[in-house]
């Protein structure tokens, strides 16, 4: 029963990402002609693609084989991205994005890099302590939401999913961070940092000329 629910959840996630990706590509190709019927059609195409056999194996199975535990913040970002390109709704503000990328960069670096640096600390093991993990995540979610950030809702989604055992993993870490979210966060923060450094230089150059 749980396995069937997991598979259904995973297929839905793959379709969502494909739909958002196709919609983003279509919008870029023809920004002025993107009626709702065409958006819906892309959803149908995405569903078809998810079951498209590649080498005899459906695309969603290939994705599941490689990445069986997509974290909830990443899935949430997929939903936000889907809302942006398909529904043309912008749910996240600048502070939300900053919070999302900062959390991903810090959590991922702690989790994935620590075994190479401090072998005496087993950070991943903390994730099996569901009570403790839920309390920490809950506190972070409360602080983020009380600060007015919608990004805190991604942590709430992770908590609910942990309670429902939505993922294959039973470790709380896998509900809040995965390697793709981590690398994406590092990339986005790096890009933002580079932009922030370039801006004063440009301003200074403009002042000199």
């Amino acid at each position: 029963m749980r396995e069937k629910a997991l598979v259904g959840f995973y297929i839905a996630a793959v379709i969502l990402f494909l739909w958002a990706g196709l919609a983003a590509a279509a919008r870029r190709a023809a920004p002025t002609a993107f009626p709702s019927r065409r958006r819906l059609l892309l959803g149908v195409v995405a569903a078809g693609l998810a079951f498209l056999p590649l080498g005899g194996v459906p695309l969603w199975v290939r994705a599941f084989s490689f990445h069986p535990n997509p974290c909830l913040p990443l899935l949430g970002l997929g939903v936000v991205g889907w809302g942006r390109v398909v529904l043309e709704r912008s749910w996240f503000g600048r502070e939300d994005w900053l919070a999302v990328w900062s959390f991903g960069a810090v959590a991922g670096t702690v989790l994935y890099v620590h075994p190479l640096v401090a072998t005496d600390v087993d950070v991943y093991f903390w994730g099996w302590e569901r009570g403790v993990a839920a309390s920490v995540l809950g506190a972070m979610a409360v602080l983020t939401i009380a600060g007015g950030l919608r990004a805190g809702l991604l942590l709430v989604a992770a908590l609910v999913s942990l309670g429902l055992d939505v993922l294959e993993s039973r470790n709380a870490w896998d509900y809040v961070i995965d390697p793709f979210y981590w690398l994406l966060s590092l990339g986005m923060l790096g890009a933002a940092f580079r932009r922030a450094i370039r801006r004063p230089r440009r301003a200074a150059a403009a002042g000199l000329s």
């Binding site: 598979v7 194996v57 199975v61 290939r62 599941f64 084989s65 490689f66 990445h67 069986p68 535990n69 912008s90 749910w91 996240f92 503000g93 600048r94 939300d96 989790l111 994935y112 075994p115 190479l116 072998t119 005496d120 600390v121 087993d122 991943y124 093991f125 099996w128 302590e129 569901r130 009570g131 403790v132 839920a134 309390s135 995540l137 809950g138 979610a141 409360v142 939401i145 009380a146 007015g148 950030l149 919608r150 805190g152 809702l153 942590l155 709430v156 908590l159 609910v160 942990l162 309670g163 429902l164 055992d165 294959e168 993993s169 039973r170 470790n171 870490w173 896998d174 995965d178 390697p179």
Partner: protein, 408 residues
């Protein structure tokens, strides 16, 4: 008073939305706690003590030395055979599992079992238990190959199979899967994938048999191979109806470069761990747990060589520890026994089971049957799985003979 105007791009929640969000977050925490927040773990109070001596009236110990050699896998059953694991079933039968195919890591590799009935007779013909296609169907994902497997009965009589499968890359891309059997391995549950690593669940492997905690938990020695190599203990919690209720894995610090841990329970609290050495030292290492396998001392090397090869150990009923290993710093051309009478502090090298230049004898595994007889299976030249059985009288006889040979 009007709130300060939001910065451009800002999209803060309203006060009402914040309140609702906070309540939602608190409700979510309560939900997790109610659903399973009590799964916190701690060290087991004790482990199942090693087997007590059988009554002498039952004919134990065997006073007459006994040694016999045989084969688990038939000739030319598969081109390559490797990685056997052996256990004694509650019925008294012995069950061996190994993988065979055209070559190690080949897509045609399958897991096979064979049974040695307690009632007598030889090993039964190999039975196909798992292959790449079956694993793919049971796990709903692409499986490139299957590999190392262990089988063991828990104290309630439920038989467990834990096996390696790979979806991406080589052996360092391995993940573990569990099946259980309520009828001594005649039928198995569908495989369940365990998530044991945060990085795409890559690189957890298994090789040796577990210890059993008094509270029902099973401590299975496993290891990690990608980027850093180190041993781990996987704690499995059996549930009702033969299902896996919970599991968690603990990294063992201070043991980098050491893999394929083999556990030997010394008493209710102390467990000895033998380790394969992947470093340039090429020495077998040991670690000791004083709290039923939960925490471990930093590993120290022994005087025994280890050519980056698997070892296994067994506590004999008289309290001595028997190990089987390759006595060389490189190559796996011999397979030898050694015994410790002081719980691993010193070792007395004993009988040579195999020795042929240029040949490979590896991946040994030990088990003791109901009568106290010791069984050993191992990879024979990567072609077949071989079986040796012997008793303590034979072990002592061989040790004495070696001592006499050393006399001037």
């Amino acid at each position: 008073m009007n709130p300060a105007p939001a910065a451009p791009g800002s999209r803060r929640l309203s006060l009402r939305a914040r309140s609702a969000g906070v309540l939602l977050a608190l409700a979510a925490v309560a939900f997790v706690l109610l659903r399973g927040g009590s799964r916190e773990s701690s060290a087991p109070a004790a482990i199942q003590a090693p087997s007590p001596p059988a009554p002498a009236a039952a004919g134990w110990p065997d006073a007459v030395p006994h040694f016999a050699h045989g084969w688990v896998s038939p000739p030319a059953h598969t081109r390559s055979a490797h990685g056997s694991s052996l256990c004694a079933l509650p019925s008294g039968d012995l069950l061996a599992i190994w993988y065979g195919g055209s070559r190690e890591g080949g897509t045609d590799v399958s897991l096979y079992t064979s049974r040695l009935p307690a009632a007598g007779g030889g090993w039964t013909p190999p039975r196909l238990e798992m292959d790449r296609v079956m694993a793919q169907q049971e796990l709903d994902r692409v499986i490139k190959k299957v590999g190392n497997a262990v089988v063991f009965p828990d104290p309630r009589g439920l038989l467990w199979m834990v096996y390696v499968s790979v979806s991406v890359g080589g052996w360092s891309g391995s993940a573990l899967n569990v099946r259980t059997s309520a009828d001594d391995g005649r039928t198995w549950s569908a495989s369940e994938r365990l998530t044991l690593n945060p990085f795409l669940n890559l690189s957890t492997l298994v090789r040796n048999k577990p210890i059993f905690a008094r509270d029902g938990r099973i401590g299975l020695p496993v290891y990690h191979e990608m980027a850093a190599k180190f041993p781990q203990i996987l704690w499995l919690t059996p549930g009702a109806n033969g299902r896996l209720e919970d599991y968690r894995v603990r990294n063992l610090p201070g043991q980098a470069g050491l893999i394929q841990p083999a556990l030997v329970p010394l008493d209710e609290n102390r467990v000895l761990m033998l380790l394969r050495d992947r470093s340039a030292d090429r020495l077998m290492h040991l670690s000791l747990s004083q709290d039923a396998g939960w925490t471990w001392s930093a590993a120290r090397h022994t005087d025994l060589p280890n050519p980056d090869a698997a070892v296994d150990g067994l506590r004999l009923r008289d309290g001595r520890i028997l190990i089987v290993y390759n006595h060389a710093s490189s190559g796996r051309e011999n397979l030898r026994l050694a015994v410790s009478s002081d719980q691993g502090r010193s070792w007395r090298s004993g009988a040579v089971i195999e020795e042929t230049p240029e040949a490979e004898y590896s991946y040994p595994t030990l088990a003791e049957d109901r009568e106290g007889r010791i069984h050993l299976t191992y990879t024979w030249r990567r072609e077949r799985i071989r079986h040796a059985s012997f008793n303590v009288a034979w072990l002592d006889q061989r040790s004495l003979a070696q001592d006499r040979a050393k006399l001037p």
